[in-house]
């Protein structure tokens, strides 16, 4: 698979995160703080991103393979189960505690921010913990069922 194109995807993604304000946890927390002075800006980030992605996925769905020839890696998981809801709950609590989700946290390393680096290290540790936990195969195919 192409190794150069994903670099520019990451770059574009990160520049979008910087422009949108997602890289600033205090702005994210102001969005999540419905009980305080609410800053609704981040709803517009989702709106803009989904508008473009919606069209792209419609185009992709009608094609047999991607432009590079790599087949489409569509998510195979369909179930709305305890893993999905429990994992999302844990994620939401961590997000609300700090104001960082994975993409902006990783991008914030580029600001040479030590606190962001500490958060990403802990996040990687959480992922490693999960990998150990998932090594006991309870859900066949979980590894290929990536949503994102």
């Amino acid at each position: 698979m192409n190794r150069v194109s994903p670099f520019f995807v990451g770059l574009l993604f990160g520049i979008g995160l910087c422009l949108s304000g997602m890289t600033n946890p205090s702005k994210v927390l102001a969005f999540l703080d419905l009980g305080g002075a609410w800053d609704p800006s981040l709803a517009f980030v989702m709106g803009g991103a989904i508008a473009i992605a919606f069209v792209a996925f419609r185009i992709a769905a009608r094609r047999a393979a991607s432009l590079s020839g790599e087949p489409f890696h569509w998510p195979t998981a369909r179930a709305i189960d305890a893993r999905l809801i429990g994992g999302s709950l844990l994620f939401g609590v961590g997000w609300g505690l700090v104001g960082l989700c994975p993409g902006p946290a990783i991008a914030d390393i580029g600001f040479l921010d030590g606190r962001a680096a500490l958060f990403v290290l802990a996040m990687a540790a959480g992922m490693a913990l999960y990998s150990g936990f998932a090594a006991v195969p309870s859900t066949p195919g979980a590894e290929v069922a990536l949503d994102g």
Binding site: I15, L19, L42, A53, L84, V98, C101, P102, G103
Partner: protein, 142 residues
């Protein structure tokens, strides 16, 4: 509820969102992959032969973004107020939780919703709800 009009930035938020959407469009159309930050990093833990280079490449681009963004506009630098203990606890929860749920804000919140996936809608409603509730508890109750 009161809206904080002084910090409300709908134009740059929407424009940034368009760029995020373009990145997702590029990755699916060119490389056949769904853009998701937690999956990008999680797929490297542990790394798999043949699979890790594209992930490392995308993560390098993501980290390079603030440096490049400085030439284009004044990027919103991180102002992280959380203590080290909170950063570690939050990072562990985000890392473990996003892998358990197979996605985060980008994978479920942007790509999944754009694909009209009921699963991603359930995930997004759950993590946003948990985020709203956590901030409410931390700032107004505890």
């Amino acid at each position: 509820m009161t809206i904080d009009w002084t910090h409300f930035t709908p134009v740059s938020a929407f424009a940034g969102g368009l760029l995020i959407g373009l990145a997702a469009a590029w990755l699916i159309l060119e490389d056949g992959r769904i853009l998701g930050a937690s999956g990008l990093l999680g797929g490297l833990i542990p790394p798999r032969a043949g699979d890790w280079p594209w992930r490392a490449s995308a993560l390098a681009g993501l980290i390079a973004a603030p440096l490049v963004a400085r030439f284009l506009f004044e990027p919103a630098a991180a102002s992280i107020e959380a203590t080290a203990a909170t950063l570690v606890a939050g990072g562990l929860l985000v890392g473990f939780g996003t892998r358990l749920a197979n996605g985060c804000t980008s994978g479920h919140g942007v790509c999944g919703l754009a694909r009209l996936s009921p699963r991603s809608l359930a995930a997004t409603a759950t993590f946003m709800g948990a985020g709203f509730l956590t901030v409410f508890l931390v700032r107004h109750v505890l």
